[in-house]
Amino acid sequence: MPRSVHKPSNRAARGELLWAAIALPGALWLVLLFVVPFYAMVAVAFGGANPLFQTPVPAWNPLHWSGSNFTAVWHDIVGPGAYIGPALLRTLLYTAAASALALAIAYPVAYFVTRFSGRRRALFLTLLIAPFWVSYMMRMLAWVDLLQTNGYANAVLSFLHLSTQPVDWLGGHASTVILGLVYGYIPYLILVLYAGLDRVDQRLIEAARDLGLGPWRTFCHVTLRLSRPTILAGMLITALPMAGDYYTNQLLSNTPSTTEVGNQVEGLLSLPGANGQGAALALILLAILAIPIAFYVRGTMRGGAGALA
């Protein structure tokens, strides 16, 4: 038995209000603690500094914005004695190298598990997901242990007669940092590739084989081509955090020769009087990353809309 009868229009209007009310607390939280903070960063970046206390003076009104912080940062990027430029370049280089290496390792693994693992698929998936439950810090700590001068990495190398002198792995090698980045972010890439390769229609592969293509050409013309969007998504998912990473290099090398742009942002923030420049550099980084971020957000939102239809 219906307990009460509403007029439909009345109910709909009240429903709208109810849904908005349910979303309100979360929406307020996001506006106050996500949108406003980014505006605060903009205000600090376009603001000045108190000459006496060296504290930042944010310019909340866009009419009062000044570009002095950006000019200062720009000189540190390209001017004589620039120290941020090399860090930017290094970030780009490390991110590109680590992404490429991660893809070269992740793709065959994901390909094997989707196509050939058969009944052992659950086992392989569990093993692939396992690193997600180990914290990033612990995974880096594990490598710090192994890469000590008297650690296992050198012990294995000398046992195999590959090196006579113990290598100082943690003494500022770019290769060590890249290895750390690959190790840290590859689980995400593998799962994205797994999900994408799993959606490649097996019938298309069969069809290509039936039409006389060899296994290698089938792979190149069908599987690889169909997985291009997945590769792109995976690269975005790993490259974005890599570009903002400032702790892997600190843990695995801790020398100025491997500093990245994130370290420079952190350094400027702890330097009295340079907070405005720190904010400006952070904004520049955001502007560089905005293109891939927007690309990814658009893809995600469109995916959501696709599921709706």
Binding site: W19, I22, L30, F34, P131, M138, W143, Y247, L251
Partner: protein, 311 residues
């Protein structure tokens, strides 16, 4: 290319000759042993270092390279440097769990509300909110941390750095988990049950409480587990928004002590504890999810039955 080279062979085959060829088409797929070996090497590479790190947290000596016998020295018995007795390590464990609980308790209801609201209350503001929510997911964590530290030092100066600032920031960073997961679930269950319940005379709040929330329970639970796990591992936000040693989490303590400081098996013990927390979460999460989705098919129908007074 491939097809042209095959073409001539096909051309001189009569229709009758094709029949046996069809039988041969069932190719025996050779197992790719090389690919499998590569996969196992990758898996070993991904796990062995962690295994060694865990092993050495039980080392009786200070070394991280030579095994000196099993002991719980770095967990319990060492009077100064064990996780139990070193005040910094001890505080880090407590702070990590505190942040995990507080953030989960706040972020999950907010995120669930946001997901329901965005999904049901269509319109431009809902689309804008959805955009902001997804953005929190992909924006670089360091940039969010920097922005938050500016807003707390320049605008919301009543918020003190330390636990308060950390929780406020972690909630922003993790709200998208329930947001995205619950929204996906809302899309799969559709509006059939809700409309049926409304036709049976249930009011909107009662529909939410008796139909929607029970059906969303597994998704809410799963997202709570993910939020908690992600807070335990969080480094960047906690590092940037902490004030003193007392408000540092396990990840921050490991980071700041790897070079000098407390280096040694005590850090491995701390990391192993983090791993143990995560494993407990995996088991609880898996068991809980199984339990909650057991009667999946019937939950919507039984809720409707109760509303109609027949269930």
């Amino acid at each position: 290319m491939g097809a042209t080279s095959v073409g001539p062979v096909r051309a001189d085959q009569s229709a009758s000759a094709r029949m046996p060829r069809l039988g041969l088409r069932v190719r025996r797929r050779r197992h790719p042993y090389l690919l499998e070996a590569f996969t196992w090497v990758y898996l070993a590479w991904s796990m062995v270092p962690i295994g060694i790190a865990v092993l050495f947290s039980f080392n009786a000596g200070k070394s991280l390279a030579s095994w000196q016998g099993f002991s719980l020295r770095w967990y319990l018995t060492d009077p100064n440097q064990s996780v139990l007795h070193d005040p910094a390590l001890h505080a880090a464990v407590v702070q990590t769990l505190r942040l995990g609980v507080l953030t989960t308790v706040i972020a999950v209801p907010l995120g669930v509300g946001l997901a329901i609201g965005i999904d049901r209350w269509r319109g431009r503001s809902a689309a804008g909110l959805s955009f902001i929510m997804v953005s929190t997911f992909v924006v670089t964590e360091l940039l969010l941390a920097v922005a938050l530290s500016f807003v707390f030092s320049q605008l919301f100066t009543f918020v003190s750095f330390g636990t308060t600032a950390e929780v406020l920031g972690l909630v922003v960073w993790n709200m998208a988990w329930p947001g995205v997961i619950v929204r996906a679930r809302l899309l799969t269950i559709g509006r059939v049950y809700e409309e049926a319940a409304a036709d049976l005379g249930a009011s909107r709040p009662s529909v939410i409480r008796r139909v929607l929330l029970p059906m969303l329970a597994p998704a809410i639970f799963a997202s709570a587990v993910l939020v908690f796990a992600s807070v335990i591992d969080d480094f960047v936000l906690v590092n940037q928004l902490s004030s003193s040693a007392g408000s540092q989490s396990m990840a921050v303590v490991i980071y700041s002590n790897v070079h000098g400081g407390l280096a040694g098996p005590a850090l491995n013990a701390l990391a192993t504890l983090m791993l143990a927390f995560s494993l407990v979460l995996v088991v609880v999460g898996w068991a809980g999810y199984r339990l909650m989705t057991r009667g999946e098919r019937t939950s919507g129908a039984s809720a409707l039955g109760q509303i109609a007074g027949v269930g």
